[in-house]
Amino acid sequence: MNSVGEACTDMKRKYDQCFNRWFAEKFLKGDGSGDPCTDLFKRYQQCIQKAIKEKEIPIEGLEFMGHGKEKPENSS
């Protein structure tokens, strides 16, 4: 899959490969420590944050999981 920053696609794919292996073989089996993909992730993030700023994608200041406020369970 492509990255939003064209220059970041290769870094993204390398990171995804590393992450998917760690996620299935370690994390889901209860071993969440020792993430071997940290360096790859740092380089990927530097590239992607630059691309997000250039494209002015408004991801800043958005609370995790949608503000965490209660949502109505019916139409209003």
Binding site: Y15, G32, I59
Partner: protein, 222 residues
């Protein structure tokens, strides 16, 4: 005004397979409208949960009436954020997805909870909730009607009303055949239908709607 949807479904795969596949979702032939996918934040919490934020860009496919009303929106892709929490100890995953642009036109928020199926531990069930809203006057109704699932729009067939017999119909005597007149010499000059040879056609008896041969069970159920 917010429209709420709730759906539940089951994937016939184990929870760990579903969670692993979640990160390998794109690209796929059913999501050609998804253009890019990026992880913009990720961390493992002290209680061993994985928090992630994924940025997706999708094509902006609007109905024609919306393209005419909002030409400035046509050129821009849709940016979507998907936050997720993976909890391997409880074998659950929760995601929250929403669009961060085109929000003036419509906001769609979706929350999904993935957990082990209560009937079959080898399966995974998904509880999916969605909220669709629009703040634009006049657009909100069209925006909310359109995403309604098709099976909710189909109107149920009304059961056929049982025909009520009128009082005079119940009291009506059956018709009798007129007596056949002997042929007369003057009959050739008459053009009246009454002198035509042969019996008059009898009226067909009215079939009762609950007659055993009528497919009444089809009328009742739709």
């Amino acid at each position: 005004m917010v429209k709420y949807f709730l759906g539940q479904s089951v994937l016939r795969s184990s929870w760990d397979q579903v969670f692993a596949a979640f990160w390998q979702r794109y690209p796929n032939p059913y999501s050609k409208h998804v253009l890019t996918e990026d992880i913009v934040h990720r961390e493992v919490t002290p209680d061993q949960k994985l928090l992630s934020r994924r940025l997706l860009t999708k094509t902006n496919r609007m109905p024609r009436w919306a393209e005419r009303l909002f030409p400035a929106n046509v050129a821009h892709s849709v940016y979507i954020l998907e936050d997720s929490v993976v909890d391997p100890q409880n074998q659950t995953m929760t995601t929250f997805t929403w669009n961060i642009n085109h929000a003036r036109l419509m906001v769609v928020e979706e929350r999904c909870v993935y957990r082990v199926n209560s009937d079959n531990s080898g399966w995974t069930e998904i509880r999916r909730e969605a909220w669709v809203s629009s703040s634009l006057f006049g657009v909100s109704r069209a925006v909310q009607v359109r995403p309604l699932p098709k099976h909710l729009l189909r109107q149920p067939r009304k059961p056929r009303r049982r025909q009520r017999r009128q009082h005079w119909q119940l009291q009506r005597r059956p018709r009798t055949l007129p007596a056949r007149l002997p042929p007369s010499s003057s009959s050739s000059n008459s053009s009246s239908l009454c002198s035509q040879p042969g019996p008059l056609p009898l009226p067909q008896p009215t079939r009762h709607p609950w007659a055993p041969s009528a497919p009444s069970f089809i009328v009742l159920y739709y």
